[in-house]
């Protein structure tokens, strides 16, 4: 059986009731792992509390940080500061320079683009080529499609169709998330996959985008953040008591 993940659940972290409500609904919809964007200065107690809420309903919480840097320099600075504190890092690309820097940086997991204007989306061939080398994925929020209608939705679907085709050509993984801010914008994984068929993703590929792609990102980062990690492919298997620390 497939394990489904939603890396972009956006409840108000301060409101425990809303978090509880949304996490319970995620569990009902069949998700086993959810990611929540947290403020950069979040305390360990808060993270522990959120993980506790998720654990009660059988869901694994992934800590996520959304970076909205204005310049590449600021992005590098923020990545240096926060990479080791969060399991998933997403960059909201608001300018072309930031998008390019995010695509080539291996510390960035998800590239997301604002839906408000088609000019604000910079996922083209050059961006995809950089992203394919740096292992970052393109993130698509279903909530963007749900909340728009008419001409805005037509433009968004058309842009997403182009972006998904480019991502496929360059082997950039696509992750589909809900991007929901309340329970009414949350949809099940199969419904998200059906939505993805609107912008040219075949159902098996779309199901991979709500299961394997996000799970791979989380697994890779958890391994990197583990204290036993030495380098890619090398990890500490056992510590001997008598060994002196270097």
């Amino acid at each position: 059986m497939k394990r489904f993940a939603d890396l972009h659940l956006q409840p108000s972290v301060k409101d425990s009731d809303q978090v509880q409500q949304m996490v319970s609904r995620s569990s009902e919809l069949g998700y086993r792992l959810v990611g929540m964007p947290l403020p950069p200065n979040v305390t360990r107690d808060k993270v522990r509390q959120l993980k506790g809420i998720c654990k009660d309903v059988g869901i694994d919480l992934v800590t996520r940080l959304d970076l909205t840097s204005k310049t590449p320099r600021q992005l590098l600075h923020e990545l240096r500061h926060f990479r080791r504190s969060f399991e998933v890092i997403s960059v909201v690309c608001t300018s072309k320079a930031v998008a390019r820097q995010a695509a080539k940086d291996r510390r960035v997991d998800l590239l997301s683009f604002p839906a408000t204007s088609s000019r604000g989306r910079f996922f083209d061939h050059a961006e995809a080529e950089l992203a394919s080398q740096a292992l970052s994925s393109l993130e698509v929020d279903v909530a963007q499609l749900l909340s728009s209608n008419g001409f805005l939705r037509i433009r968004l679907l058309s842009t997403l169709r182009k972006e998904v085709a480019i991502a496929k050509k360059f082997g950039v993984p696509v992750a589909i998330s809900s991007g929901a801010t309340n329970v009414h914008f949350m949809r099940g994984p199969y419904d998200c996959a059906a939505f993805a068929s609107l912008f040219g993703m075949a159902v098996p590929l779309a199901l991979r985008a709500v299961s394997e792609t996000p799970l791979t990102i989380v697994e890779r980062n958890r391994e990197k953040l583990s204290p036993d990690f030495v380098a890619p492919g090398i990890r500490l298997v056992r510590r001997k008591k008598g060994c002196a620390s270097v």
């Binding site: 919809l29 499609l145 749900l146 909340s147 209608n149 309340n182 329970v183 009414h184 914008f185 949350m186 949809r187 099940g188 199969y190 419904d191 998200c192 059906a194 939505f195 068929s197 609107l198 159902v203």
Partner: protein, 106 residues
């Protein structure tokens, strides 16, 4: 010989704070299909409402098996009915009504 028509039955559940009537649900789903796929697309779905229980907020929808993803996407795209926020979940899909009832325990 005429080829047998293959259908799919979808069990749906409406999540809303207020009660929604069958008419409202039928209109909302049809409008969603029309909005996403137009009249030509809607004609391919063979969409029919089999039943809807407004007290328990669940229902059964039938469509052509070729249009399953279209109907699923349309049902999922409904976010409000008469200004009330709603979400419609697909509980299960099956080829026969009997199997669907067994699957989702309606």
């Amino acid at each position: 010989m005429r080829k047998r028509v293959r259908r799919r039955y979808l069990a749906i559940k409406v999540l809303s704070e207020q009660s929604i009537s069958k008419r409202e649900i039928v209109d909302a789903v049809w409008n969603a299909v029309l909005q996403l796929f137009g009249e030509y697309g809607a004609s391919q779905t063979n969409l029919t409402f089999i039943e809807y229980n407004s007290e328990k907020s669940w229902g059964i929808v039938r469509c052509s098996h070729r249009a399953l993803e279209m109907v699923r996407a349309s049902v999922a795209s409904v976010i409000e009915i008469n200004g009330k926020p709603v979400a419609i979940d697909v509980l299960g899909v099956s080829g026969t009504l009997k199997a669907l009832r067994k699957k989702v325990l309606l």
